[in-house]
Assembly symmetry: C2
């Protein structure tokens, strides 16, 4: 019986694993659905493999989260919904973005959760759901794929600042919970602003509140703050540590997706603030995270920046 | 130096505590601001004290959370914004509802947080903020007092079901986090539906998404699931325990505000479902909590009820 090497869970006998060297054109071209689940630096590789084998699946689903910015671009970064090679994706919508709270090991152990499948063509998302949904893997569908992909990537970035609150205000045996809830709230509000900004640069429907305040935004942020590499980084920053030091020590060799997302955001974010497409006063948490990770400075969130923007008087 | 008897924190010398027997007309009539912070069963008493002393403060603020239903009423329950004696409140808006994540002991220790002051007259809320805001107690203002009061009460009720997920799916050394995030998400969506329903029965503006998806809703739910009596009850229910048994044992003598809120909701909720003012398919978590606490049955949330409503196909 097979045990997954990192999940440490026995998988059903019906599942057959192939190593990447065993992938061939026959297999890839006959697939009904291809799901890409590599980490964000591997998306280029995965896309090349599919192209080299002329694989153009009727449904291509993405579990990978990330943003793509062209070098020195002053535009908002793109989601994979717009950045994947056009030869792989059909503009009418064979691509399905997957978001929502889903720690892989819990899913493998069949613990219940609720996720979202998004596609420009809602019928493609619904069809994939009809294959994938079980009593414990529950699936909503929607057509705001850019909003879902933007939230899924941004939540890793914002998680860093929220998770700093896990350690930042020690009390008795544990840590204060009010600051954590206050910054969780602020992160969700900033998810909405940033996902709308990213969607505005894309074709199709723009992100509604439903996306940021639902599974791909709020709910996935909730589980991400609860554990994982972005949260570990945030917890260290909350203790006064700095990024470079951590990447040379405790987080040596670890891919922290939220840091990559921050790097992809940076140039476009700065430009959008200068040109007033974004109001920096409404984004104090994003600014504090960018300051810390881009300039390798201690993470400091100043609570007098709340409430953000024009409501902020005294 | 004074130490608060339950918070176990030394309070500033400028604070003078009076016992309720020391309250008199001179003190109460000269107060600039009166803040009511009793538990919900004490609101009637507090309101009587103010009336007996002819105290009509320019600003009356409420920290107490709760709903009020008239016996056998089939209408939505009222918030204190509508249920407090009219002799105490000025319809143009001397009442300020206070919501948001705020564990009292953390505030006394000056840990930072972000809350919301709501008043039908936004100027009253802003004026109170100008007196109360500090570098660690940050305050947003808005005019949706009924939405804020409804969310503040409902989050205690919904917390019970979310907190059941803390214990319901044990894994290794801890508990699964996907189900907790999935029901946190569902609770926030139901907060929006229920707070709109309650607001619809009140004069003035109806609850917008801003209220449920902000400090008084989402953020206060976050901190409430993190600890307190509603969360304790939920954690026990997640282990298969039942309400009556708990109220006779571990929770003997404990006021669980979320249970009172559920009782106040019940008749109006049932009637609204029958008359299609509420769609029960969109409220699976509220239904599961009501079933458990009103009929003293084990709490069971069936994940096949997600996604809720018409999107629920297979």
């Amino acid at each position: 019986r097979k045990e997954h090497p990192t999940l440490k869970v026995r998988l059903p006998d019906s599942i057959r694993a192939l190593s990447h060297s065993e992938l061939n054109s026959a297999t890839l071209q006959s697939a009904d659905v291809i799901v890409i689940g590599v980490s964000s630096p591997g998306v280029r590789w995965a896309s090349d493999v599919l192209e080299n084998h002329s694989a153009r699946p009727a449904t291509l689903a993405l579990v990978t989260k990330g943003l793509v910015a062209l070098e020195n671009s002053i535009n908002p970064p793109l989601t994979y919904a717009d950045a994947l090679d056009r030869s792989l994706t059909d503009p009418s919508g064979n691509l399905v973005g997957i978001g929502g709270p889903c720690i892989a090991r819990e899913l493998a152990l069949r613990q219940p959760t609720h996720v979202v499948f998004a596609s420009r063509d809602i019928r493609v998302a619904r069809q994939l759901r009809s294959v994938m949904q079980t009593s414990y893997y529950r699936i909503s569908t929607e057509n705001e794929i850019v909003g879902v992909e933007a939230c899924a990537a941004l939540k890793n970035f914002l998680c860093i600042g929220v998770s700093a609150m896990i350690t930042r205000y020690p009390m008795d045996q544990s840590n204060a919970k009010n600051p954590l809830a206050a910054l969780f709230n602020q992160a969700v509000q900033e998810l909405l602003i940033l996902s709308r900004w990213i969607s505005s640069a894309s074709e199709g429907v723009s992100a509604s509140t439903d996306t940021a305040f639902m599974l791909a935004g709020m709910a996935d942020l909730h589980v991400t703050v609860g554990g994982g590499r972005n949260s570990r980084l945030g917890s260290y920053l909350g203790q006064g540590r700095q990024l470079k030091d951590l990447l040379n020590n405790e987080l040596n060799g670890v891919t922290v997706e939220g840091v990559d997302t921050g790097r992809m955001l940076y140039a476009g974010f700065k430009h959008a603030c200068q040109t007033k497409l974004l109001d920096p006063q409404s984004l104090p948490l994003s600014l504090a995270i960018l300051n810390s990770i881009m300039h390798d400075t201690p993470f400091n969130f100043d609570f007098t920046h709340l409430p953000p923007g024009s409501d902020h008087e005294t």
